[in-house]
């Protein structure tokens, strides 16, 4: 059984900060990031990735476990001076992070034509809402990314 170690060294914080900056500007909210929870997200995602027992898991698995733990542990909260409130902010940031991984990295199982811009707005909205309102597991979210970003 292989041990995955390539994500242990990734610092997600700059990416999460950049997504939050975009959300602050485009959705007009004010956000806070809890670094301790973000660190937990990384740790739990890494644990789940290792459970697959693959030395080189494909990017869809990485994306699935990351967005699962992000929406589960919710490292983003609202600043006191935020004038707007968007309920599914953690789900949005988690989904953008995982789509970014699928967009940027391609492996043997990736669909070379996968492009986030081609995903219909309706599907993105449904996905974010579903992540907030319904049950998911690391495995079910991984399968969602397999279906959307892997070749078949």
């Amino acid at each position: 059984m292989g041990e995955t170690d390539f994500i242990k060294f990734v610092d997600f914080e700059p990416a999460i900060k950049r997504i939050c900056d975009a959300a602050e500007r485009d959705i007009q909210v004010r956000l806070r990031i809890d670094r301790n929870i973000l660190s937990e997200v990384k740790q739990y995602a890494n644990n789940d990735l290792n459970k697959f027992g693959l030395p080189r898991p494909n990017v869809a698995k990485f994306a699935g476990v990351f967005s699962f733990w992000f929406r589960k542990l919710k490292p983003i909260s609202y600043a006191d001076d935020s004038q707007n409130y968007y309920p599914a902010i953690n789900e949005l940031v988690g989904l953008i992070s995982s789509l970014a991984i699928c967009e940027e990295y391609k492996d043997d199982l990736s669909n070379p034509d996968f492009c986030v811009a081609k995903i219909p707005v309706r599907l993105v909205k449904d996905w974010i809402n579903g992540l907030r309102m319904h049950s998911y597991s690391p495995s079910s979210l991984t399968m969602a990314f397999e279906l959307i970003a892997s070749k078949y």
Partner: protein, 61 residues
Amino acid sequence: MTYLFGKGFKIDDYKMPGYEENKRNYEITTEGILEGVDSVISAFRKNGVFDELRKSCISQS
């Protein structure tokens, strides 16, 4: 632990179909994720995802 069934099947003989393994080496980096994030944000701005989400915001009264 081995379980024996009535007809002599051993559960140990069953092999779960495994995940198809990716053979390509790749290393996910902070910089790589940042580039991907920029692409996704740009796509969401162009296709109006952020506009749609802003409409569902609750404003402080």
